[in-house]
C-alpha cells in the first residue's frame, strides 16, 4: 500500500526477485573467491572449477528467484491475520518450488528442489542446516547481509524517491567474507558452535553501517509511515469481510490464482456498492477517506508507560465505539544485529568496533487512529484527558491473557 503515499512505489515482487538473484550471485562470487577465504572456513566452500561450485551457484540463483513466490496479494499488509493456522508465506513458497510445474523445470536444470527450498526460506523449526547451506541461506535471507534485504531497500528507495534507503552496495558486497562467528563472551576456550556466518572486512564496516541506517530510515519513513499503516488496517478489514471464511485458503491453486489486481478491482467495485462485503473499508481506501492519527506517543511517553497508547485506545473505544478507532503497534529491529568483522587482529564483533551500529534506533509504528468525522472532537477529548489515561498503573496479571 506504499504507493498510496509514495505514488512511484508501484514496482512488483518480480523485479525484486530478479534483483535478489543478481545480488545473491555477486555475493556468492565474492565470498567463494579463494583469495577471500580464511583457513578456518576454506574447507566448507567448493573449490573453483568443480561441479559443486557451479551447482550451488545455480541453486542459489533459483532459490533467490523463487524466495517470495509465496507472498499474498499486498504481502505483509495481509498476512498477519489472513492465513489459516500453520500456513505462512514461506510454506507457500516451498509449495510453489515443489509444484509439478516447477519440478519439471528443476529436473531439466538438474537441480534438487530440496536444495532450492533449503536456501529460499528461513530454516523451520528443528531444521539445522549444515554450514555450507547455512551460509548460502544467509546470502539470501540473512538478517544483516541478505540479498533480499539489500535489494528491497535499494529498490524501494528508488521507486519511492526516498534517498535515505541508498547505500554503497557494491562496496559492501566486495568486502563480504565467510567468517567464524564473533566471540560473545570471555570464555575464550569454550566458544560454542563454530558455524561460520557472513561478515565484512574492516574496510566494509562503514558500508555495513550505511546498510543498517538505510534500513532504519526506510522503515521509519516508508514502511511504517502513519498513512501507509492505516491503509494496511483498512485493507485488512476489507479482506476479512470480502474473502470467503474471512481469510485466504492457503491452498496453492488458490494462491496462484489471486493477485494484487484481483484485490484492487474488488475494492473498487465494493467501494461503489453499499451492499458489497467490505464496502466501508474499501471506500476508505479508494476515496482516501482513511482514519486520522489521534495519538502518537513520544519517546518520553513510552518510557513512562509503554502501554499508554493502548490505554488511550481502550478509552477511545469506550467513548466512540470500537468501529471508530484503530490501534497500531509494530516495531522492526533485530535484537543485536552483530556480525563478525575481519581485522588485522582477527575476527571481532561489529558492535565493539562501531558506535553507529549499537545506537541505531529501533524503527517503530505506534498510533491510535480515529474515524475522520470524529477527529476534531476526539482530539479535544484526548488533550483534556491524556495525562490521566496514559498513566502507568498495575495491570490485570491473570495468566492466559495475550
Amino acid at each position: 500500500m506504499s504507493y498510496l503515499v509514495y505514488p512511484g512505489a508501484t514496482h512488483r515482487r518480480f523485479e525484486h526477485s530478479l534483483g535478489v538473484m543478481e545480488l545473491a550471485t555477486r555475493i556468492y562470487d565474492v565470498v567463494c573467491d579463494a583469495a577471500n577465504l580464511t583457513d578456518e572456513v576454506r574447507d566448507i566452500v567448493p573449490a573453483a572449477g568443480t561441479h559443486a561450485r557451479v551447482y550451488w551457484r545455480q541453486v542459489l540463483r533459483m532459490a533467490a528467484l523463487c524466495h517470495d513466490t509465496g507472498h499474498l496479494p499486498f504481502s505483509h499488509a495481509a498476512e498477519e491475520r489472513l492465513l489459516p493456522d500453520g500456513v505462512n508465506h514461506e510454506i507457500l513458497s516451498e509449495a510453489v518450488i515443489r509444484s509439478d510445474e516447477m519440478s519439471a523445470i528443476w529436473k531439466e536444470m538438474h537441480l534438487d528442489a530440496d536444495d532450492i527450498v533449503a536456501l529460499a526460506v528461513e530454516p523451520g523449526d528443528g531444521v539445522v542446516l549444515p554450514p555450507w547451506k547455512a551460509i548460502l541461506n544467509e546470502m539470501i535471507t540473512g538478517a544483516v547481509f541478505g540479498a533480499d534485504r539489500m535489494d528491497y531497500l535499494l529498490r524501494d528507495s528508488l521507486h519511492s524517491g526516498v534517498a535515505y534507503g541508498r547505500f554503497d552496495h557494491a562496496r559492501l558486497i566486495d568486502t563480504l567474507r565467510i567468517l567464524p562467528a564473533a566471540r560473545q563472551d570471555e570464555s575464550e576456550s569454550d566458544p560454542g558452535d563454530p558455524t561460520p556466518q557472513l561478515g565484512v572486512t574492516l574496510g566494509g564496516l562503514q558500508s555495513a553501517e550505511a546498510l543498517v541506517l538505510a534500513r532504519y530510515f526506510m522503515f521509519s519513513q516508508v514502511y511504517l509511515h502513519r498513512v501507509r499503516r492505516i491503509y494496511d488496517k483498512h485493507l485488512e478489514d476489507f479482506l476479512v469481510e470480502w474473502l470467503p471464511a474471512g481469510h485466504f485458503s492457503g491452498r496453492l491453486d488458490d494462491h496462484l490464482a489471486m493477485t494484487d489486481a484481483h484485490v484492487t478491482v474488488a475494492m473498487l467495485q465494493a467501494s461503489a456498492d453499499t451492499t458489497a462485503p467490505g464496502h466501508i473499508h474499501a471506500r476508505r481506501v479508494v476515496n482516501r477517506d482513511h482514519f486520522k492519527v489521534l495519538y502518537a506517543p513520544t519517546p518520553i511517553d513510552v518510557r513512562a508507560n509503554a502501554a499508554g497508547a493502548k490505554q488511550l485506545f481502550d478509552a477511545a473505544c469506550e467513548k466512540y465505539g470500537s468501529e471508530a478507532v484503530r490501534y497500531d503497534r509494530y516495531s522492526k529491529g533485530g535484537s543485536t544485529d552483530t556480525f563478525p568483522v575481519l581485522t588485522t587482529e582477527g575476527v571481532q564483533a561489529s558492535n565493539g568496533l562501531s558506535d553507529v551500529l549499537g545506537n541505531v534506533p529501533i524503527a517503530s509504528s505506534h498510533y491510535v487512529f480515529i474515524q475522520p468525522e470524529l477527529a476534531p472532537q476526539a482530539r479535544r477529548w484526548k488533550d483534556t484527558n491524556l495525562a490521566d489515561i496514559i498513566e502507568a498503573r498495575p495491570e490485570d496479571e491473570e495468566e492466559g491473557d495475550t
Binding site: 566471540r183 560454542g192 509503554a306 533485530g334 543485536t336 552483530t338 565493539g352
Partner: protein
C-alpha cells in the same frame, strides 16, 4: 502471559544477570529464558527452535528488540573481540509498576536460574540448553540415545561433554524440585 508481562520478567532477568556478574549477551538471555520456561515451567510462551548455540526463540529476539525500542533495555558494546551486553534501561521502571504480582510470583524461579547460569559461558549454555531440548524431544529415551541425538545436532560437542550436560541438567531439575520451583 501477556507480552508486557513477559517483558517484565525479561527485564528482571537481565538486571539480575548483570548484578550477578553475568555477561548477559543475547545468547545468555536466550538460554536462561529457555531454562526458565522449559525447566521451571514459567509460562512465558516463547517458541524455541534449534538454531545457533542450541535452542533459540525468534519471538524472544523480537521481544528484546521491542524492549530496546521502548527504552526498557539497552545494548552496551564490549571491548573487541566480544559482542554487546544487554542492560536494563530507564524505561523498564514502569514494568515494576504495571506487573508487581508477576515479578513477585516468579522471583524464586528467577533467583534460581541466575544462581545456576549467571557465570555460564557460550559453550556451556549451548550444551546445557541443547541437552534440555533433546530431553523434551526424547522423554523416554535412554541416555545413550539422547547423547547420540545431541551430538548429531551439534557435531562439535563430543559424547563426554554431552553426558556431562545431561547430568548437569538433571541435577538442576532435582534441585529445582527439591525447592518446589517447578510450576505445575
Amino acid at each position: 502471559m501477556k507480552g508486557a508481562q513477559r517483558a517484565a520478567l525479561v527485564a528482571a532477568l537481565v538486571g539480575d544477570l548483570r548484578s550477578a556478574g553475568g555477561w548477559a549477551g543475547e545468547t545468555h538471555v536466550q538460554k536462561t529464558v529457555f531454562f526458565l520456561q522449559e525447566l521451571l515451567r514459567v509460562p512465558m510462551g516463547f517458541a524455541f527452535q534449534l538454531y545457533k548455540y542450541g535452542p533459540f526463540s525468534f519471538d524472544l529476539s523480537e521481544q528484546l528488540g521491542d524492549m530496546r525500542g521502548l527504552g526498557q533495555l539497552k545494548l552496551e558494546p564490549q571491548r573487541p573481540p566480544y559482542g554487546p551486553k544487554f542492560a536494563v534501561a530507564d524505561g523498564a521502571a514502569q514494568l515494576e509498576t504495571r506487573f508487581p504480582k508477576t515479578r513477585s510470583k516468579y522471583r524464586p524461579q528467577l533467583d534460581f536460574i541466575v544462581e545456576q547460569l549467571s557465570s555460564a559461558g557460550v559453550g556451556q549454555l549451548e550444551r546445557l540448553a541443547t541437552a534440555l531440548l533433546v530431553e523434551s524431544e526424547l522423554p523416554n529415551a535412554s541416555l545413550d540415545a539422547r547423547v547420540s541425538s545431541l551430538c548429531t545436532y551439534k557435531p562439535h560437542i563430543d559424547t563426554d561433554q554431552a553426558r556431562d550436560a545431561f547430568a548437569e541438567v538433571d541435577a538442576m531439575r532435582q534441585q529445582a524440585k527439591h525447592l518446589s520451583l517447578i510450576a505445575e
